[in-house]
Amino acid sequence: MRILNDPEFQALQRERAVFGWLCTAICVTTFFCFVFLLAFAPGVLAVPISDKSVISIGIPAAAGIMTMTLILIGVFTVRANRVYDKRLEKLLEALGDE
């Protein structure tokens, strides 16, 4: 249990948790912005993306949120694999808590 009091371990876990919650918050907040627009200001999403186009902002907005989510999912996974896992492994080794 002494690993819990290790400052480096605490810093790592804090960073990880903040990163995870931040990524979640970005996606969930963006989604609810979309829902709020649908619910309270439907006109905004109905505006065409350009004079020549029939496509409304709503379509690329939806596809954009989905794409952004997919990118964040990738970023999170790569970061967890490359950074957090390695740091945790080193810490556990150094502390010999296993």
Partner: protein, 546 residues
């Protein structure tokens, strides 16, 4: 076509003659049935193989921890991409345009919660069901009882909805009578689950996910070829073809009021993280890193799938709604949910129609199997092995109870599926997501992240969430007015999650904070130990011996 297939596989198609006589007017689709038969035979073969390898409870509930992250990712995507996602959402886009995109965006975003917050900790803490993870520091009996209730309500509602959908769909697709279709789905799912356990269910899921993803990719690609890979051309044609015209590009009447829209959004985003059949899949991989890989792959596949569903929906607006052969008496044959299926025929003829129909059937079959396994695990592992007869059952007792539970769930699903024939069951899926978001999700996330959560708080909050969700739906517009037939709903909003989730979290917070018992003290102290295990995997249940 008909004759040749009959002569090639006479043994297989023999019983179909009987169904042809009873078929309710819809023509028998031989290509679809032949393809579906191949799927059934292959999956039954896998079940037979899996049954030989299912010796312990580890094998039965968690495939011995021997599934790789990539395989599990496909299987989770398979669990999540139900017929409701494939046919329902493309049908919704077909019917209402932009409004339908709430589901695709919400469904994709919901995976961030699973991947970023839950997957790894869940794997480190649990063994077979999510209740394992919660009961590490909370009192096992009350928590498992609550989790099992949450699981069973979600599983039963979802099962009934899938069964009714399956019966109606198969009636149109294959020309089989409704009751036969429901019986067929029920029997096959019980065979997979009771004999092959998690190993068979996983492979059924993987095959189905592969088929569904490739089928819908081809479908979307053919749509794009049709419109020279120009979205502008596609959407312009859709506006011209749709009776609502340019309004399909704007938000419209799908959400009766803002509260309902927000409430639906909450159920979509947080419901996924409380679906028992999805959560239990994270225990089939060896460690937390593989759990993360699973969630990453599942999330990517679901996001990709939902993106192309948009193309399929808009493609159907152009190619299906202008083709009179898909209509009978002025309405689309089989309802809006058939949009993607008709589209396959419009684009590539009968053979592809057969393939997509078989994929749709396989999709339903795989999802109900996952649900049945989750339900059977809640009954046998959570209720029997850890509550009713805690510590008094050996592995073979538990396995026997599991198999009986899946049989009972199968009989229930068939019975209720037939009882609800022809009724609007869309509310059941909504309620299932709302219950998942208001019972399972709060208990799980708070137990992992909030030190002061106590057993009393979790049980009180979870129960309130369950009761509020059910009451809101029963007294709301969907059941009180549309199903029972009263003139005005007692609860005015269509979707309950905003109220049930808030109530669940609020009650959990208040009761936990006010809980001054000695148990509460102990539970808070045990948090450190649980926390260490959840973030490092030290002491986590490992993959079984083989």
């Amino acid at each position: 076509m008909n004759r040749t297939l009959m002569s090639v596989v006479p043994g297989l198609l023999c019983p179909l003659d009987l169904w042809a006589i009873e078929g309710a007017g819809a023509p028998i689709n031989v290509t679809a049935i032949a393809m579906f038969m191949v799927f059934v035979i292959a999956t039954l073969g896998i079940t037979w193989w899996a049954a030989g390898r299912t010796k312990s409870t580890d094998d039965y509930y968690a495939a011995g921890g021997g599934i790789s992250g990539a395989q599990n990712g496909l299987a989770i995507a398979g669990d999540f991409m139900s017929a409701a996602s494939f046919l329902g959402i493309s049908g919704l886009v077909f019917f209402s345009g932009l409004d339908g995109l709430v589901y695709t965006v919400g469904g994709t975003v919901s995976w961030t919660v699973v991947l970023f917050l839950l997957a790894e900790r869940l794997r480190n803490l649990g063994r077979y069901t999510f209740a394992d993870a919660v009961s590490i520091r909370l009192s096992a009996k009350p928590i498992r009882t609550l989790s099992a209730c949450g699981t069973l309500v979600v599983v039963l509602l979802y099962l009934i909805a899938q069964m009714v959908g399956a019966g109606a769909l198969i009636e149109v697709l294959f020309g089989l009578p409704y009751e036969v279709a429901v019986l067929l789905v029920g029997v096959l799912m019980v065979l997979y689950v009771s004999f092959g356990g998690m190993i068979a269910t996983t492979w059924v899921q993987i095959i189905k996910a592969f088929l569904l993803l490739s089928g819908s990719t081809v479908l979307a690609a053919l749509v794009m070829v049709e419109f020279n890979f120009s979205f502008e051309t596609l959407f312009r044609a859709a506006i011209d073809a749709h009776p609502k015209g340019v309004k399909i590009m704007a938000p419209g009447g799908l959400f009766p009021d803002p509260i309902s829209a927000i409430s639906l959004g909450l159920a979509l985003v947080f419901g996924t993280a409380g679906l028992p059949h999805v959560l239990m899949r994270f225990f089939t991989v060896p460690d937390a890193k593989q759990a993360r890989t699973s969630a990453f792959i599942a999330a990517s596949l679901v996001g990709y799938f939902y993106l192309i569903t948009i193309i399929i929906g808009f493609g159907a607006i152009v190619l299906v709604s202008q083709n009179p052969s898909f209509f009978a008496d002025g309405v689309i044959r089989g309802g809006n949910n058939m949009a993607a299926v008709h589209l396959s025929q419009a684009l590539a003829g009968d053979l592809f129609l057969g393939f997509i129909s078989a994929v749709a059937f396989a999709t339903i079959l795989a999802v109900v199997s996952g649900l049945t396994l989750a339900g059977a695990s809640a009954i046998s592992h959570d209720l029997f092995a850890n509550v009713f007869a805690a510590g008094r059952l050996n592995q073979s007792d538990v396995l026997r109870i599991s198999r009986w539970s899946s049989l009972i769930l199968g009989v229930l699903a068939i019975g209720l599926g037939i009882a609800f024939k022809g009724q609007n069951v869309a509310y059941m899926v909504l309620l299932a997501f709302a219950v998942a978001a208001s019972v399972n999700f709060p208990v799980l996330i708070l137990s992992m992240y909030w030190r002061r959560l106590t057993t009393r708080g979790a049980v009180a909050g979870g129960s309130v969430g369950l009761i509020v969700a059910v009451c809101c739906v029963v007294f709301g517009p969907t059941v009180w007015v549309e199903v029972i037939g009263f003139e005005r709903p007692i609860f005015p909003y269509k979707y309950p999650a905003l109220f049930s989730m808030s109530a669940a979290f609020l009650v959990t917070f208040v009761v936990s904070i006010l809980d001054a018992s000695a148990d509460a003290q102990k539970e808070a102290e045990a948090f450190d130990h649980q926390y260490l295990r959840s973030v490092t995997g030290l002491g986590a249940a490992s993959a079984s011996s083989h």
